[in-house]
């Protein structure tokens, strides 16, 4: 998928001007927030579970090699195979090769952010294989040829009318006069269209929320049950995932699951939690004949041992974006790649480079709401600041910002000079204000006065009046 992160500012302008998107975002900012708050309220040990979940992932990341050794053996022992993909290209090639080895013409897909990250659909299509998304949200955006705008609700930026229009345009074999007024009718229609696809598919591709070392199991969590059919009906099941998904035991998974759905949608548990272990054994009534796990690195192992390691705890619940006022203002597409919101602002620069994604960690007020709700207690603002530090070190910070900052810092390090400058600044502002209590425009603060007035100083500096020994 094309990266438009460098054009973040123009993406933002477009998003803010998009009335329909703004309405959709209005729903996000109320709905998710209330549901998570209620779920948290109902589970007194919620915050303790967050600590445990954090510790489980930290422990795993510290011993990743050890646990992967166990995991790989288990997968092989259960008749599956593990494939390591250093880059997105490697992952695409591995998956394509498996599909081609089985002469695949259609593949069904469960929801997978890693498949988005490696732009799998485009790659399969180019090779003459038709990918069919089976998650409703993913199906909708596939019809519309759009990227997801949210990691758990890929079509959250759309309204019902837009979905209806896409269905009518795509499902031309159905009668024109059918009713699609109700959301349930849309869901039914998607189910009906997809049913045959499940049966026709040669390969099923899913993501994985977790990989379990002790059993070699991969786990997906869905609300639609689409993942089950995707992975059990075709002859081949490919799990498309990334290396930070590993946890040691099933017990660990159950701890993390207790915070996942509550943080994401406010549910106690997602409707379906599906465990897959290996290929079909003799005597099994169903299941795939082949089970492949493709594990993507794509820059993640470089994060280990750095100030960005904590980001690898992320379980993709979406709570950070659900609570982010910047995300609420601009939606997911403005971020310009696969991962939006606060988690994207930290992860995207790691995966595509800070030179491309520089705006993302900068477009934050550090309000801290993301960190406050992150079930894995990832210090997102702190890591966005680390990206700004890397930018500053590499002189990627815009020159105008650097120049004014260094002038200001020069003064801030010299109190006597600083106080003099403050008094002079106030006098200059007062001259400019000409007796007014606020300015409608100011040449030095265009970003401010574009949208708001600039209140003027109400007297001489506090330091000056304090030294003068009294109140004004």
């Amino acid at each position: 998928m094309d990266i438009t992160s460098p054009a973040f500012k123009s993406n933002v302008k477009r998003a803010i001007g998009d009335k329909q998107l703004q309405r959709a975002m209005g729903n996000v900012k109320v709905g998710f927030v209330k549901k998570r708050a209620a779920a948290r309220e109902n589970l007194p040990e919620f915050d303790q579970l967050r600590d445990q979940a954090r510790d489980i992932k930290n422990h795993t990341l510290e011993h990743l090699d050890l646990y992967y050794e166990i995991y790989e053996k288990k997968v092989e022992a259960t008749g599956g195979s593990v494939h390591w993909a250093a880059t997105a290209k490697d992952a695409r090639d591995i998956i394509l090769e498996i599909c081609q080895a089985h002469g695949a013409r259609t593949v069904t897909k469960g929801k997978s952010m890693i498949a988005e990250e490696i732009a799998l659909n485009e790659h399969l299509e180019a090779a003459g294989i038709t990918p069919v998304e089976t998650d409703l949200g993913e199906y909708i955006i596939q019809l519309r040829n759009e990227p997801p705008s949210h990691i758990i609700g890929p079509a959250i930026h759309l309204n019902r009318d837009q979905v209806e229009a896409s269905f009518r345009a795509a499902h031309t074999h159905l009668p024109d006069d059918r009713s699609l007024e109700e959301v349930s009718e849309l869901v039914d229609e998607a189910r009906q269209v997809l049913r045959q696809k499940y049966i026709d598919a040669d390969v099923g591709i899913t993501g994985a929320n977790y990989l379990v070392a002790e059993t070699g199991t991969s786990i997906i969590v869905t609300n639609e049950g689409n993942g089950d059919l995707t992975q059990s009906l075709p002859k081949v099941h490919i799990v498309c995932t990334s290396l930070e998904k590993l946890v040691p035991t099933l017990e660990d998974v159950s701890t993390i699951l207790r915070v996942l759905a509550r943080s994401a949608t406010g549910q106690e548990f997602s409707t379906y939690t599906t465990l897959s272990t290996g290929a079909r054994r003799k005597g099994d009534p169903d299941g795939p004949e082949e089970y492949h796990v493709v594990i993507l690195d794509n820059g993640r192992s470089d994060m280990l041992g750095t100030e960005f390691q904590d980001m690898l705890r992320c379980i993709r619940c979406g709570a950070c974006m659900n609570h982010c006022p910047v995300y609420h203002s601009v939606g997911g597409h403005a971020y310009g790649w696969v991962y939006p919101g606060p988690m994207g602002a930290v992860l995207t620069p790691s995966l595509i480079g800070i030179d491309q994604a520089g705006h993302l960690p900068n477009a934050s007020t550090f309000c801290g709401r993301c960190e406050a709700v992150c079930p894995m207690r990832i210090p997102l603002p702190k890591m966005m600041r680390h990206w700004r530090e890397r930018e500053f070190e590499r002189h990627l910070t815009p020159r105008t910002v650097r120049t004014s900052l260094s002038l200001w810092a020069f003064l801030a390090r010299r109190p006597a000079l600083y106080h003099l400058a403050a008094s002079t600044f106030i006098r200059a502002l007062k001259l400019l204000a000409f007796g007014r209590s606020r300015l409608k425009s100011a040449p030095f603060a265009g970003g401010w006065t574009k949208y708001r007035d600039l209140p003027m100083p109400s007297g001489r500096s506090f330091q000056e009046s304090w030294r003068a020994g009294g109140d004004e």
Binding site: K9, V12, K13, I16, P325, V326, S329, N362, A363, S364, T365, F366, C367, G368, R369, E371, R385, R388, E389, F392, E393, V401, L405, S406, W408, A409, L411, A412, R413, P415, A416, Y418, H419, A422, I426, R436, S437, R438, K440, G446, G447, W448, K450, Y451, R452, D453, L454, P455, M456, P457, S458, G459, R460, S461, F462, Q463, W466, R467, D471, E472
Partner: protein, 254 residues
């Protein structure tokens, strides 16, 4: 409550120093009323957030060193801002290497630094103020104060003792106003969306006065309200608690 008269160094903050010195005086009054001895060391400038949040650690450290030194003689450091107090308390120690002498000094500063209103309530045990305000107000919870320092009940507790004052909560009082320091000029379009939503919520209440504990947020919200022609006025919470209402509200004509 401390047994001897505590010596408080007021960290004025750069915005209060330049734009609204009255907030500094209100802080001085509240601290003195609570039984503190107040001084304002001249060795202070800004807490360093503009540099820190731009990724410039070297300058931030240099500024932090000045601040640490300026406040060495005091029992407490108090700032009329959750954001600046949070910087001194939560972020200064992160600037220095573990085990270094400067880290130890930064930690010592951190331990004695407080935001004004929480200092009055939590440390000085202030139960109420001697002030009056006739009208309804609403209160915005600024982010750093709320989430870094846990300031939520303290201002409400003291506001409840202002005679004649009614507090009416607004929707989403805990959501960021869109100021974010340099954020508001770097990403003006996003900032505007956020502050529009914020003043919208303030306007839905019957309050004629919007309060908060951070001047950056206050100037942002006041600037937006005035641009929209709203009659809602904006003040720092300390002004109301100190009964310091002689200055016109932020951005208003005298």
């Amino acid at each position: 409550m401390p047994e001897t008269v505590p010596k408080v160094g007021l960290f004025v903050t750069c915005l209060v120093d330049v734009f609204r010195p009255g907030v500094g005086w209100a802080a001085v009054k509240l601290l003195r009323d609570a039984g503190c001895e107040v001084d304002v060391p001249r060795g202070q400038t800004c807490c360093g957030q503009p540099a820190y949040n731009t990724g410039d650690r070297a300058d931030t450290r240099a500024i932090a060193e000045k601040t640490i030194k300026a406040f060495e003689p005091f029992d407490y450091v108090v700032a009329p801002s959750g954001s600046c107090a949070g910087m001194l308390k939560k972020h200064y120690p992160e600037l220095f290497e573990d085990g270094s002498a400067l880290k130890a000094s930064a930690e010592a500063l951190s331990a004695k630094t407080h935001e004004l209103i929480s200092f009055l309530v939590d440390i000085m045990g202030v139960e109420g103020v001697d002030a009056a305000f006739d009208g309804t107000v609403t209160y915005h919870d600024s982010c750093s104060g709320l989430r870094e320092l846990g300031i939520k009940e303290q201002p409400r507790k003291l506001l409840a003792t202002v005679s004649g004052l009614t507090l009416e909560e607004m929707e989403e009082s805990e959501v960021c106003c869109g100021f974010g320091g340099t954020f508001c000029v770097k990403y003006p379009d996003i900032s505007n969306t956020m502050v529009s939503s914020k003043v919208g919520h303030a306007g839905e209440t019957s309050a004629g006065l919007l309060l908060a504990g951070d001047l950056g947020c206050l100037m942002n919200m006041a600037g937006k309200l005035k641009r929209e022609g709203s009659p809602v006025e904006v003040r720092h919470v300390a002004e109301v608690l100190a009964g310091a209402l002689d200055d016109p509200a932020i951005g208003e004509n005298g």
